[in-house]
């Protein structure tokens, strides 16, 4: 990667500089490789594993063996498969909640920064107010409200689209969680986007667009937002581990993912019930969980430093 950069006689762009800086950051690169490994384990390798919900009461609490790499849990289910499938839910919660919050945060922050003046002041005071509300409190209430609709949603989809009932149930069970987190997580992001938009809207190419007589919406969505998209998305990698953590907290409290779905939070909760005798049931999911968060944080820090995205301070 670096060789290519040096061989290139043309000047270097923002992204090329960032890539070179990134490649030098050993922590961030290590994080990146671990993330890639986790992804391939959870989303590709998991398909070749045994069924994570296969109960086998004769073979419960089995030690690690060739059949069951991490042994089995209290119901004789394969722990390795359960960790990988649980990882799918945990990682998806992190990614989808981030996507939802990025979508809201970009539009809100961009409109606020672009409009300026009184509109901007009011929109930012709204964000300040929402930021002061305890996040977990709202997530718990919103999740409780949304999850009661998920049963109705399951019935409706099964009746109208003839989808498989179990599959639909698993899907509708986790969707409220994605939205509860995403709908409330966009606040900090919107401030970052706003700061970026405010600096970009003074640039010449925006002036040129204004001079060409383009409408405000077109300038905002076609000229300004594409330019803040990169740094924003990069910054949002730092929110992924936060959402994964919130999912685990909710699941641990019994308010998040429900069986037959599992997530890392659910597995850690289950594991802590058999602490005295089977500590690996707690340790192994905890290890996967922490390693993923660790890597995501280092990767996010590295990307942020490489692109030099400054946190918005109003």
């Amino acid at each position: 990667m670096t060789n290519q950069d040096q061989a290139n006689p043309q000047g270097s762009s923002l992204w090329k500089d960032a890539r070179a800086r990134m490649a030098k950051n050993r922590f961030a690169m290590g994080g990146l490789w671990i993330i890639i490994l986790m992804f391939s384990l959870c989303f590709i390798f998991a398909w070749f594993c045994t069924d994570p919900n296969q109960v086998n009461l004769i073979n419960k609490f089995a030690s690690p063996s060739l059949d069951h790499w991490f042994g089995t849990d209290a119901l004789g289910r394969d722990l390795f498969a359960r960790i990988l499938y649980g990882g799918q839910v945990s990682i998806l919660v992190g990614l989808i909640a981030t996507a939802v919050s990025v979508a809201i945060g970009i539009v809100y922050g961009a409109v606020s920064g672009f409009a300026g003046g009184r509109t901007d002041a009011i929109m930012m005071r709204v964000v300040d107010t929402l930021l002061a509300i305890p996040f977990l409190v709202l997530v718990i209430v919103l999740q409780a409200t949304l999850s009661d609709w998920s049963g109705d949603a399951t019935r409706w989809i099964v009746e109208n689209f003839k989808w498989d009932k179990e599959f639909t149930g698993r899907l509708t069970n986790v969707i409220p969680l994605f939205f509860a987190l995403g709908l409330l997580g966009w606040l900090t992001l919107s401030r970052i986007v706003r700061a970026q938009v405010m600096s970009i809207k003074e640039r010449e190419f925006v002036e040129a667009a204004v001079a060409l007589g383009y409408g405000k919406a077109r300038i905002l969505f076609r000229h300004i937002i594409p330019n803040v998209l990169g740094p924003t998305v990069v910054y949002s990698t730092l929110t992924v581990p936060g959402f994964i953590m919130y999912e685990a907290i909710l699941s641990f409290l019994g308010l998040g993912v429900e069986s037959p779905n599992s997530s890392w939070g659910v597995l850690i909760k289950e594991g802590s019930n058999f602490l005295e005798t089977e500590v690996q049931l707690l340790l192994l999911p905890g290890l996967f969980f922490s390693l993923t968060l660790f890597s995501l944080n280092f990767l996010g820090d590295g990307l942020r430093d490489a692109l030099d995205v400054k946190a918005a301070k109003d």
Binding site: I133, V141, D148, L253, I268
Partner: protein, 309 residues
């Protein structure tokens, strides 16, 4: 300063009102009945119970009555699942949560700030690397993994420490440590960053040039400015400790507010939910305000610009 204070207090009320509005309508939107445990009761009885709690009135009236009762009577309503005034439940469980939160904050400051200072002073040495790695681990390992591990490997082996329970003073140590660890890690990172920024400034170089000893430079010239980010974080940290306490209270069976909150959400107990949310919100607003005031005391620049924002 006074203008700043009044502005922040007004904003605090606005925050609480927004929190109330959102929680109220979400609680109303939660399907299900609050009185499901009382089975086989006639529709008439049920209607009477609803009337008793004022749930039969139009929704807009209920929306106004609740804050009115708080202001005029100091009443947060009566819990529909416990049948007791919400204020009693809060008064009984809050001291436990507060003790836990304060001790955790003590652990967080006592561990986090010295580690942050140490790794800033020894920047890019192995001490710095290992301190920051440990801090990152502290952020990434959830309390519900550390808590049970402490129970089995520490509490079970040290006489006097109980695995779970509440009553003696030493029962608070493990839960507070578990709870404070994440904040300690954040504080360490913030302290390190804050001090490094101050160390790079001209007046620090001047102090070195004047022959001030390195220890004095840190203690007298750097610490005050360098701790600002950490102090500003104390408000959010307290919020994190409170929301984190849901978990830790469950693990160590501390009779605090966390369980009531989770129960309120699962049993559709809207008055308890509203009362606890508002109480949490009030605590966090007050803590944020205190953190801001403390920042103002430490940093004269903030005092002038703080009022207008």
């Amino acid at each position: 300063m006074l203008r700043f204070l009044i502005g922040r207090v007004l904003q605090g009320f606005l925050v609480l009102f927004a929190l109330y509005t959102i929680t109220f309508f979400l609680a109303k939107a939660m399907p299900g009945e609050p009185f499901t445990s009382e089975k086989n009761i006639s529709a008439e009885t049920k209607a009477n119970i609803r009337k008793l709690y004022g749930l039969d009135k139009p929704i807009w009236e209920q929306y106004i009555v609740y804050p009115k009762n708080i202001i005029t009577e100091g009443s947060f309503g009566i819990s529909t699942s416990k049948g007791r005034p919400v204020i009693d439940i809060i008064a009984q469980s809050f001291p436990n949560s507060l003790m836990l939160g304060l001790c955790a904050l003590g652990f967080a400051i006592g561990i986090g700030v010295p580690i942050g200072i140490l790794s800033a002073v020894r920047k890019n040495s192995w001490i710095d690397w290992s301190c920051m790695a440990v801090a990152m681990i502290g952020i990434c390992i959830p309390s519900f993994t550390i808590g049970p591990l402490l129970q089995i490997y520490v509490a079970a082996h040290i006489p006097g420490l109980k695995v779970a329970g509440w009553g003696n003073w030493e029962d608070i140590l493990l839960p507070a440590f578990t709870l404070g660890l994440v904040s300690a890690a954040y504080l360490a990172r913030l302290t390190r960053g804050g001090i490094l920024e101050v160390l790079s400034q001209d007046f620090v170089r001047t102090a070195h040039a004047k022959g001030v000893s390195p220890t004095q430079v840190i203690l007298k010239h750097t610490l005050r400015g360098g701790l600002l980010p950490a102090v500003a974080y104390l408000g959010p940290a307290f919020a994190a400790l409170i929301s984190g306490s849901f978990i830790v209270e469950t693990i160590f069976q501390v009779p605090g507010m966390g369980q009531h909150f989770v129960n309120a959400a699962t049993t559709r107990d809207e008055f308890l939910l509203l009362g606890l949310s508002l109480f949490f919100g009030l605590l966090i607003v007050v803590m944020n305000l205190l953190a801001d005031l403390l920042t103002g005391l430490l940093d004269p620049r903030m005092r002038q610009s703080g009022g207008t924002d």
